[in-house]
Amino acid sequence: MELNDANLQTLTEFLQKTLDPDPSVRRPAEKFLESVEGNQNYPILLLTLLEKSQDNVIRVCAAVTFKNYIKRNWRIVEDEPNKISEPDRTAIKANIVNLMLSSPEQIQKQLSDAISIIGREDFPQKWPDLLREMVNRFQSGDFHIINGVLRTAHSLFKRYRHEFKSNELWIEIKLVLDTFAKPLTELFKATIELCQTHSTDVNALKVLFSSLTLISKLFYSLNFQDLPEFFEDNMDTWMANFHSLLNLDNKLLQTDDEEEAGLLELLKSQICDNAALYAQKYDEEFQPYLPQFVTAIWNLLVTTGQEVKYDLLVSNAIQFLASVCERPHYKHLFEDQNTLTSICEKVIVPNMEFRSADEEAFEDNSEEYIRRDLEGSDIDTRRRAACDLVRGLCKFFEGPVTGIFSGYVNSMLGEYAKNPGVNWKHKDAAIYLVTSLASKAQTQKHGITQANELVNLTEFFVNHILTDLKSPNVNEFPVLKADAIKYVMIFRSQLPKEQLLQAVPLLVAHLQTESTVQHTYAAHALERLFTMRGPNNSTLISPTEIAPFTEQLLNNLFKALALPGSSENEYIMKAIMRSFSLLQEAIVPYIPTLIGQLTHKLLLVSKNPSKPHFNHYLFESLCLSIRITCKANSATVGSFEEALFPVFTEILQNDVQEFVPYVFQVMSLLLEIHSDTIPPSYMALFPHLLQPVLWERTGNIPPLVRLLQAYLQKGGSTIATSAADKIPGLLGVFQKLIASKANDHQGFYLLNSIIEHMPPESITQYRKQIFILLFQRLQSSKTTKFIKSFLVFINLYCVKYGAIALQEIFDNIQPKMFGMVLEKIVIPDVQKISGQVEKKICAVGITKILTECPAMMDTEYTKLWSPLLQALIGLFELPEDDSIPDDEHFIDIEDTPGYQTAFSQLAFAGKKEHDPIGDAVSNPKILLAQSLHKLSTACPGRVPSMLSTSLNAEALQFLQGYLQAASVQLV
């Protein structure tokens, strides 16, 4: 592409078109630009346009296009063609800095970004003049240009803040320091002087303060990796100026805006960061300066207002104090009682106050409020910073700080008592203060787990919290009520049970309050209380203790769902779920009414599922209703099907992806309740369940497998007779699953059910292929998980079809295969089997191989007999996995935050563990003894001799024990 007017014109036209709102115009233009960008001079044409075009829109558009072009093409990827010609590269680098500096701000920003992208690749080796060129501009005296340079430098250097130390990186930094540090320091000093000379010129000040902020940011980047010699030598200059800037105020720079931070705030905020960097990393060198910074930052805090625009500054400043005060050698800066008192009074307390912004959020944006207040997304807030400072101070001064705050708490409560209507915010601050002072460790699951012993939590509860909860007008002072509820919730592990029981009916009453935050907190608190553990893994609060309030509780929970703003409130739905689970059969009388409400809700949300947590708890609640009711009377299952199937059909037909996995689980639960036949309504659905499209969604796999298992269990023979043509499709699902490392265990679940429940003749023709598939997978990727499932399966097969059938099918596929599997897989890996049922299946299967398979006695497999027996004894005698799985009542769904993409498993649709062997074998050790005895009588003398020659002594001793327990002797 020539650098001529015609091309500039063409390019202008196409750039113009890329701004067209109509995609049929825009897209082709974008395509065209992409198709020509490989030509030489293309970037130069863009630069020419952004410099010289008459049309401002085109200039900006060219700048953006240029930056994106650089972003896509500048990097030279090894083994790929260089996408920008060398002459173009050279020309760009020669002109871009000048161009950037002489352009208006909008274009300057784009070019500055482009420079940093190029710099990332070329600087310093392939762009040696860059720094010099930039530094020379410091002399220009034009702060528009200087700020352009500083911004560019910032984008070039900021990576020093997060990259790992390396020689390469440090060589670059050293080079930068050598050319840049001194001029930057001079510029810093000069800029500060200029600020004094122009202290009455607001426009000049604005530019100068932007420079100072940028310079401070550069200081941070350049000092990040290590303390450079230059900056150590010039620490006086920098720190003295930083210090005075912290103290500086200029009316002209104060902004009216309450939200957006102004230049002064941004600069001071960065200085706090710089001081924190030095305090953390270069403590030894910074020590002399630190006390004055503590004082300055503290003064800053004392004099800064409550407006939102100061939030970042204040939170940075407080965090600085918090990090310093817990270091032992600065303890002395804080330990004076007066100092502590004024920090508490002037820094902490004011920043804990409930501000009008909080009040607005409480009323109008309850979701955001709850997220911040309850879920801890308050990292950058003032309250949080103040809390951290309290914790930092408590490290050395817990006693004094607690003492000081007790005074404050009392006086704030006193203020409140004088005139609650006006002073309620004082009580809010008091409660917040107590909370931050008392909580030393906290988890979602248990609330506060460690508390400051100097705070009497129960006393405070009785005197100040309970009173609010008991107040007859539940809608008065909603913030304080919410505080009180939250107090119960977070200190639940610290409060005595009788207090909690006293709170329960009060919380139930608060479910009816108007304020969303308030009734949400009430639901959440109840849910958390119901999840607390008492002795013996049971719930702390028993259904009997709740009995007097059961009706009220259920009523209020469901009524709360009707309150404005709470129709899909996940906290309420979770509380419903937890109440069902806690109350168990006590809910049965209410279910006929409640199931209608739940189904109705389901129908509504399935139109547009938007609250995943809410929906999840809704399904959990449905499962609980079914389980609890059918446990009392299994005949009621039909009425649930009647109520639910219409909605389910709609969900499946409309393919509501979020809900399909849930529907399958609820259907499994329902089907499993049926006695041993499969209703026709289910059979009609069967072919559809095998459709590949359903299985492509990973979230569907576990519930679908589960559902197919239920089909096989209840209707194995029905499938064999009336849907035999579907068997290959069913096995196809197995094949699909077995191919995946993530899902192979699911494939085995299915296969095991097929083996267990299908009539043998219905699968005879497929058996060999099944094994070939398993061997192929074993050959291609042998994972521990796969081997464990494989071992369970072959032993189940052996139990079901006999040891001879197993050996024959192996050896039919490939001679000596049976021996190879025993030697390479069964013997070494059977110890890995975990789970009671799985162990039992393997034990029985191996016993059969040992005692019912002639090939083990009379062929070259004989040498494997003793090792196999030894492995079996090992399986018996391995220490049992004694970890008790969590009782499902306590399961927390937020423990699995990734559930949306993964499988949305319903805890309360849980499947009972199934033992395919069942009572046929109650003690596998006895079975082994009896089977060995039988074998020894069939071939007298051989068994004892095999045992005595190759079984180790310990195993032999265990075996003797089994024989004795079974009262048999080997002959």
């Binding site: 990393k281 270091r327 699909k736 993530a742």
Partner: protein, 520 residues
């Protein structure tokens, strides 16, 4: 990305590399680029003799000024005197030069060299007939050699090395001492001149002067010169030379003078700052118990190099580390971890990090000797560099320790302390901490107590910090944090491996045809 390289570079510094990455033993990394001021705790490479003789008159103005003209006049006079044939004039010239070169500020090294005086000074070194002249010339050359590499080079290229070695044998002790000093400056210039001196047999000549009756000042200079002959890597001094010096160093290390001990210790630290076979040579002398004893000195000048030497030794093989442990290093380290000087804390933590990289028996000894509490204190309260070393110690400990040992560390507060450090402003250290956390989770998994550990991490605010790290600018950091969250605070899903054919209605059940034999 340089990030991957850095990790690798660090990995290759660990002792048991190649065995498994978890066996980490950290060696001091020789970073060629430094941003900081040169280390203040190291001993000096070159020194100028600025003392004055008792009979020297106070420096006249002409020696104290920076006025170029005055100096050039003075040098003119010196040239004239030195080049004359008169003994007296030569001595006077030489002495004047020496005085100029001995003044505190801005000695005119280059001017004297440019005046072409060095060849004459070297000549004077051979003037056994005139000890005063010999001495003044030796002193002047010593001070020139104390300058930059270029200055030293001028001295060497004028043939000073053989002359000084000969001068070592001077019956006049102060002349011999000046030769020792000059040779020390030349040796301190770098490996090239050091090896050149060694090739000229400087070591036997120096050792010959090491006698029981040598005055302490002489011994100090001698020890310092010997230490410079042991100094510098790339390359190391020849092994034969090291073998020659070592017995005498061992002797010196048993003397009582602090300065001698300091430089002898520095020599040991240089000799141990290398591969295991270098360390082995030192350990075999049986000096390790003495180094441990020297670590108990209060004087920083002795303590620092002794601790450095020990740090080097325990960065060696497991056996070498065991020698140090048997010599009692673990009973000294707790006190050094609590030393008031941050630099001592840092070096001690570094040594502990290397012991923690050893087998679990050695880790057990760390526990038994009470190293955990002070180490954890440093994580909480040490300065940045010390914290960084302490973090390495924790990570090494958790990767080599048994499950029980890791549990003990967690119970002693190690987990909480490293979690608190996740706000540290250094990407590498954060990554190392995440590694330790991961190791702790591996141990918890073995015990089936993952959930308990999750709660513990959450309780002390660690979960929140790790979650925040998912926004870290450094790729490796955010990925590691993310993996940790996904692995222990989340459910995970794996990838598919091979495909099954499908129709609209169902999957096709059909194993692929294979002729390959199955073999597991």
């Amino acid at each position: 990305m340089p990030t991957a390289n850095v990790t690798d570079a660090r990995m290759t510094k660990f002792k048991n590399k190649g065995k498994e990455p978890s066996k980490l033993r950290e060696r001091r990394i020789a970073v060629c680029v430094e941003l900081r001021k040169a280390q203040r705790s190291e001993s000096i490479l070159k020194k100028r003799n600025i003392s004055s003789l008792p009979d020297d008159e106070a420096l006249s103005p002409e020696y104290a000024t920076d006025n170029k003209e005055v100096i050039s006049i003075a040098i003119e006079e010196i040239i004239c005197n030195v080049n004359s044939n008169s003994k007296e004039q030569q001595t006077r010239g030489c002495q004047a030069a020496r005085k100029l070169l001995s003044r505190e500020r801005n000695p005119p090294l280059k001017e004297i060299i440019d005046a072409g005086l060095l060849a004459r000074f070297v000549d004077f070194l051979g003037r056994d007939d005139d000890p005063t002249l010999q001495f003044e010339a030796a002193w002047a050359l010593t001070n020139i050699a104390s300058g930059t590499s270029w200055h030293t080079q001028q001295v060497v290229e004028n043939g000073a090395v053989p002359a000084f070695i000969t001068l070592l044998g001077s019956p006049m002790l102060h002349i011999s001492e000046q030769a020792v000093w000059a040779l020390g400056n030349i040796a301190g210039d770098g490996p090239a001149y050091r090896d050149a001196l060694i090739a000229c047999n400087v070591i036997p000549a120096l050792l010959a002067r090491l006698t029981p009756d040598a005055p302490v000042g002489y011994l100090r200079n001698l020890t310092w010169t010997l230490s410079n002959l042991c100094r510098n890597k790339n390359p190391f001094p020849p092994l034969s030379a090291v073998q020659q010096v070592l017995p005498s160093l061992v002797q010196l290390l048993h003397l009582g003078d602090k300065d001698v001990l300091s430089d002898a210790c520095w020599a040991i630290s240089y000799l141990t700052d290398g591969s295991n076979d270098r360390i082995d040579v030192v350990v075999k002398t049986g000096i390790v118990p003495r180094v441990v004893a020297l670590m108990e000195f209060e004087e920083l000048s002795v303590l620092t190099p002794a601790l450095r030497s020990m740090g080097n030794i325990v960065s060696g093989s497991d056996q070498q580390t065991q020698v140090a442990i048997d010599a009692g290093v673990l009973s000294v380290l707790p006190r050094l971890l609590r030393h008031p000087k941050p630099s001592v804390q840092k070096e001690a933590a570094w040594a502990v990090s290397n012991i923690a990289a050893g087998p679990c028996q050695q880790i057990q000894q760390l526990i038994t000797c009470g190293l955990l509490p002070p180490l954890i204190d440093l994580l909480r309260n040490g300065d940045f560099k010390t914290q960084r070393e302490a973090v390495w110690a924790i990570t090494n400990y958790t990767s080599g320790g048994t499950v029980d040992q890791v549990v003990q560390l967690v119970q002693s507060g190690g987990l909480e302390a490293i979690l608190d450090l996740l706000h540290i402003k250094d990407a590498k250290t954060i990554l190392v901490i995440l590694d330790a956390i991961n190791n702790m989770f591996l141990a918890a998994t073995k015990l089936g107590e993952t959930e308990k550990l999750c709660l513990l991490v959450e309780e002390v605010g660690g979960l929140e910090r790790i979650e925040q790290l998912q926004n870290h600018e450094n790729d490796a950091v955010y990925r590691t944090a993310q993996e940790l969250i996904e692995k222990y605070f989340n459910e995970d899903v794996e990838d598919e491996c091979f495909k099954t054919e499908a129709t609209e209605r169902d999957f096709v059940f059909k194993p692929a045809e294979v002729d390959k034999q199955f073999n597991f």
